[in-house]
């Protein structure tokens, strides 16, 4: 019998039979799913499609790691290897990371967390998913047709003049997926401004909402720039309009400026929602108000703002002016400050908290450590002097995987597990999940920590051979072993989460005893989210340590957890009496 958590004092199982209609069983037809305006269904659509793309991207990653176990290329030729890492980058960045937490968890949770019935623009939301699918199909079409070997960064003049013909198709796909992102951002911003429940002032919002709002702002301001820049490459390739062509006097570095003007804020699109998830997990599993709520909220906005001022740190060795490089380096150090504020605040939240080490919490704690490492190594790269040595090596690869996988993917998994009962109405098997979370942590570190070392020693990135330095091989082998463990730890949740859909215990409205408007409605929620729009009287993290302690003591006395619904409590007491 799968119950969360394994602790015998607590159960989260719904005692009432599932008779009410919820958003999942309201209508079973395909049409109702494909033409839905319900933000929760759209989130599920995204979940399925994003998981599929993640799987494809992982296969590419596996190929890369396998190829790198030998100093000379042994299963892939140079050009094929280039296509494989480009595919890995494009799929993971544009079809997974940019989309995963905002479009899945964000779409599902934002209206619930603010007490609204739906997003501001439900049909636009659906359009967003269709654009994502069309963009994804174009990208995959380009991949199937032979792929691109320009890297996910598409630097000119290679991508505009010399690369193979699939560039146009893949860029079209990215362009369309960009518009999917933009429509999601529009929805987030307008919904947060306009659809909050009565009494839900800005500073009573859950920090996840602040994070999603900041993400929306970044999406709106940044994505169009990369859209038009990639469009310029299409202009160059298809319409012969020279824009970055060096022979005619154009400047290829201008492409890099415009590309990174988006792509750096893009990484904040990937990490800000992860920060939001993290705040929710830490608060609810330490059963304590988040330390420094205002600071975390404002730091989300600060990251969104400052994140637009640091793009040049990707171009330190691209012949950009050294004086600008100094400015970018300085601001890169400044942008680390809001992120550090968050990490300190989460850690302070843990202090004297009533920590419950359930699966989402393990992911959240892992996030703190892994993101800190990733962030700090980012500072080494933001420093001009060291960047000259470290750039274009595996140090960079390790850095961004620490923040992206150790950060964003870990938070995504943690959030997925945390809100899984809410989204599906089912509980997943806690013991397997807990061990798997530890496995993710182990596999991840085994994969990417050796890459720091080998990158520092000089292993270039995007090279499929290193016969000039065979001493790198042990590190690569360690990294590949780690990636096998990591792959396993990603497959296992796929299996048990899917299995829980049919075999998992049914969840009560609030199996975690968490605070937040999304937990005030049933699991899964009805299509209209709430029977009655709630009126908010206090901030969301209103954990009171005294009350928590008394509730815990009372629960232990009765052997019935205090946060079960009344029917469940009486059912439990009945069970105890028998």
């Amino acid at each position: 019998m799968s119950a969360i958590p394994a602790d015998p004092n607590v159960t989260a199982v719904s005692a009432t039979p599932r008779t009410e209609t919820n958003y999942l069983n309201a209508d079973w037809s395909i049409k109702s799913w494909l033409l839905t305006g319900d933000h929760k269904r759209i989130a599920i659509l995204y979940l399925v499609s994003v998981s599929f793309f993640f799987f494809l991207g992982s296969i590419a990653a596996g190929l890369i790691r396998y190829e790198l176990t030998a100093p000379a290329g042994f299963i892939l030729e140079s050009e094929t290897y280039n296509k494989v890492f480009s595919a890995h980058g494009i799929i993971m960045v544009f079809l997974f990371l940019i989309v995963a937490i905002p479009a899945i968890l964000g779409n599902f949770l934002l209206p619930l967390m603010i007490g609204a019935r739906d997003m501001a623009f439900p049909r636009l939301n659906l359009l967003s998913w269709y654009l994502f699918m069309i963009g994804g199909a174009c990208i995959m079409g380009g991949m199937i047709n032979g792929g691109v070997d320009s890297g996910w960064t598409f630097y000119v003049p290679y991508s505009s003049m010399y690369a193979n013909s699939n560039v146009t198709m893949v860029l079209t796909g990215i362009f369309i997926a960009g518009f999917s992102s933009i429509t999601t951002g529009i929805n987030f911003i307008v919904t947060t401004h306009k659809m909050r429940a009565p009494g839900m002032t800005w500073f009573r919002l859950p920090l996840m909402v602040w994070a999603l709002y900041a993400t929306g702002v970044v999406i709106i301001l940044g994505t169009p720039v990369v859209a038009v820049t990639l469009l310029c490459i299409i202009f160059e390739r298809v319409f012969h309009l020279p824009i970055f062509s060096a022979e005619l006097g154009g400047d290829p570095v201008l492409f890099q400026h415009l590309f990174w003007f988006y792509s750096h804020p893009a990484v904040y699109i990937m990490i800000l929602p992860a920060f939001g998830v993290q705040s929710e997990l830490i608060a609810n599993f330490a059963r304590k108000r988040v330390f420094g709520y205002h600071l975390i909220a404002f730091s989300s906005l600060a990251i969104a703002g400052l994140g637009f001022l640091v793009w040049g740190h990707h171009m330190f060795i691209s012949s950009e002016s050294m004086y600008q490089g100094v400015v970018f380096s300085l601001i890169s150090f400044l942008v680390a400050i809001p992120s550090a504020i968050k990490v300190f605040n989460w850690t302070a939240t843990l202090y004297k908290g009533n920590i419950r080490l359930q699966t989402p919490m393990i992911y959240a704690l892992g996030f703190i450590g892994l993101f800190t490492i990733g962030g700090l190594t980012g500072l080494f790269l933001g420093c001009l002097g060291t960047d000259v040595h470290l750039t274009n090596t595996y140090f960079i690869v390790a850095h961004f995987h620490y923040v992206m996988v150790g950060g964003a993917v870990t938070a995504f998994l943690g959030g997925l597990h945390y809100w899984w009962p809410k989204m599906t109405g089912r509980l997943y098997p806690e013991s397997i999940a807990k061990w798997n979370a530890v496995l993710v942590f182990i596999g991840f570190n085994l994969t990417f920590f050796p890459q720091f070392i080998v990158g520092f020693m000089g292993m270039p990135r995007r090279y499929h051979y290193y016969y000039f330095a065979p001493e790198f091989q042990p590190y690569h082998i360690m990294s590949t072993l780690g990636s096998s463990v990591l792959a396993l730890s990603f497959i296992i949740p796929g299996l048990y989460l899917t299995r829980s859909l049919s075999k998992g215990a049914k969840a009560s409205a609030n199996p975690w005893g968490a605070h937040g408007l999304e937990w005030e409605t049933s699991s899964p929620p009805p299509t209209s989210n709430f029977d009655q729009i709630p009126v908010v009287l206090d901030e969301v993290y209103d954990f009171d340590p005294v009350t928590e302690h008394e509730q815990d003591k009372a629960a232990q006395a009765l052997e019935v957890p205090s946060y079960l619904s009344n029917e469940a409590k009486s059912a439990e007491s009945e069970k105890e009496k028998r």
Binding site: M195, V225, L241, G249, I533
Partner: protein
Amino acid sequence: MAAIASDHGHGHGHDEALHHQFENMEQQNDSYIVGMWTFLVTEVMFFGALFLIYTLYRSMYQMDWYLAHEALNVQMGMVNTFVLLFSSFTVAMAVRYAQLQKKWGVLSMLAITQVCAGAFMVVKYFEYQEKFGHHLYPGPGFGSHPEYLHGATPNFAQLYFGLYFGMTGLHGLHVLVGMIVIGYLMAKWWRNSPMVTKDYIPTELVGLYWHFVDLVWIFLFPLMYLMPKP
């Protein structure tokens, strides 16, 4: 200019134009306007990047670009600007009629807007035709008739025309999309669809888009056609 208190502004949602996720019409209207402006901000950044590229290259090749721009027909550009400004007025009038729920006012104003947009596209067609005829489209045949380059270095002139066709082409595409959307709106009004007759917001949103298209042209015209001599 009355702002009359409506009888459906207080959460009962009996207004048939009120969508289910909103509590009252004011929230709905506000949301749509803010949402549209958010979209227009993305369009500002979209065209803005192209203006950035233009600024950079023009500052680098001022004389060549000045000479190359002389191939453009200022009169045609002026006609296009007049036409777009006038169409902005007519679409604002259409929004006004939509607020007053005057169907034939809306339809006539939108029809004039369509005519203006069509005129813009026609003039643009003739302009492009002239450029192609003079071998001013970037590519292998560029500059084969050097007299049309007016003395500009062919390489840098290609950059100018690359941006010219890119930016005016993209703008023309937006005009076309606008024409399609206005056509769709007209069809809705023609059929008395309550989506537009009971709710002026769709017309207002289309109007906002159209004004934005005009805004881009207001900047594009002096930059492309009216360069001062360096």
